[in-house]
Amino acid sequence: MSEPRTMFEKIWNEHIVYQEPNKQAVLYIDLQLVHEVTSPQAFEGLRLSGRKVRRPELTIATPDHNVPTTDRQLPILDPISRKQVETLRSNCQEFGITLFDLDDPRQGVVHIIGPEQGLTLPGMTIVCGDSHTATHGAFGSLAFGIGTSEVEHVLATQTLLQSKPRTLELRVDGRLAPGVTAKDLILYLIGQIGTAGGTGYVIEYTGEAILALSMEERMTVCNMSIEAGARAGMIAPDAVTADYLRGRNHAPADFEAAVKRWRSLPSDAGATFDTSRVFSAADIAPQVTWGTNPGHVLPVTAKVPQPSDFEDETERRSTARALEYMGLTPGTPLQNVDIDRVFIGSCTNGRIEDLRAAAAVAKGHQVAENVNAMVVPGSSVVRDQAMQEGLHKVFEQAGFEWREAGCSMCLAMNPDKLSPGERCASTSNRNFEGRQGKDGRTHLVSPAMAAASAIRGHFVDIRDWEYSK
């Protein structure tokens, strides 16, 4: 009998092309996703060295970070943004790469379109010049973000040099309570293990609470693995995974044979992780971040902390700095904090289930007077689906802006951004200083919590929400 192995080890071993002793492995990459911001220098590198793309059909590109979310018929106003999108277009043409361009119904945030098109499959290695590539691990693939030089390496060789990471199991027992979402689950875990708790590791999320999640919820969890410092997060494929993929554009032709293969992927009973930690779903309440990194997080029922709550000197200083930046007074109940803006979208929470959850909260209500709220679908497919279901009407009637697909105010590279001092309830993944606009203040929450805060004008405990019929 062979040793029991983790899912990570199985996928890793299967993708080693070659490894010399004491060197990094040459790992085969099954799929690369490319966007306009982290790729121009990689293509330029290829040109300068006269190299070709080895397997153009294993790379898919789309513009998402820098694109307008208003009328797509108009040209992009900012000439530098426009140039970047045009550069992606000409690079794809020159090197023979499929591009889901701005006017393509499949365009959207890279991490949303991969799964949506059935490009992301269990057992694959997937990379992208983007740290949230971890999202794809929700399918039981090994997916991680890389730098631009590595993007070039993959384009030229379809492989990557990698040192073997360690494995970290995060097991969540029991079931999430009503109103507590996948977003709250991952924010809670980051709060527990810290923003560097996963550094050097690939996380496998296990346990009843994880397996009970839908495919989209699993993506929300894996997406934020990087916020815990891990480059990759994964969840074992099961019937939920297969049901999601069946019938998608690029799903395997012999689907049932593929499903059979996928059954061998999950970690074997008795496989050991380098580190394992166990949590209880019952301990998780709806979460809100209060500071300037995703580990600065508390239950919505808590109060803004004091620097002296922390033992470690560096932590105390970083808390003081964060509170000053965020304009928060220690001891204030989080539910008393007023907000100016709401952003619903991103690769964390811009999928159809997220929009349904937010619409269910918004239905029959009005966005508070001083609040500007916008909904930005994660992809054009999500947008079309939402419009078929009439969700855009629900949002518009409640006073939310309804936009085109893209990254938008998740990183504010396009015109969607906070003004200095503005406070935002956001369903995205990063609350770093200036992330949503210089001197803007970001609080990360779930889609339902974001919609409810838009309506009340401050944070609310979604477990108390009365839904309209």
């Binding site: 004491n22 890389i146 730098g147 379809q158 550094t199 560096t314 990183l411 590279m413 200036g434």
Partner: protein, 200 residues
Amino acid sequence: MQVFRQHCGIVVTMDRADVDTDQIIPKQFLKRIERSGFEEFLFFDWRYDDSGASNPDFELNQPNAAGAGILIARRNFGCGSSREHAVWALENYGIRVVIAESFADIFYSNCFQNGVLPIVLPVEQIDELFRRASGSPYALTVDLEQKTVCDEEGLNLSFDIDDFRRECLLQGLDNIAQTLQQESRISQYEERNADRLARN
């Protein structure tokens, strides 16, 4: 790639943990399609005030940090976005060594691709470096062959680094060219896995 053997440079200390790549290079400067010219944007939002004047309190703007080539920070340096622009901005500015208690993974690999050496040292040694660098301009000599960090007053610290990565930096090796020498192995792998790799 740029060779790295030894670097002697002025130190700039940043007594901060979790310095993320959004701070190292804010997103509005990611629109460029070149690899150079990012030095003016390094730590932009911290370095300049709203009028564009340099912020005298910010670490890089302190007189004793003028011309710095070595940056020392606390834990989890370079967390967040994978943007290699963060390393380009540091390198373009002239920073060739970053010393920290720990680094985020992607930032750490990106350094090696650009001839920038990331060094992990234990907290006590970092504390000591912060003490020594707190007054007049303070210089360190970092020797990658010897794996040491030394100052002129007799401090001599050694650090660990992966042999393969060290070799690549010492020789300025081009990873892609090296991998392409294994071309036949890649082709064999592709043949063996042709079924799995066929795109629908």
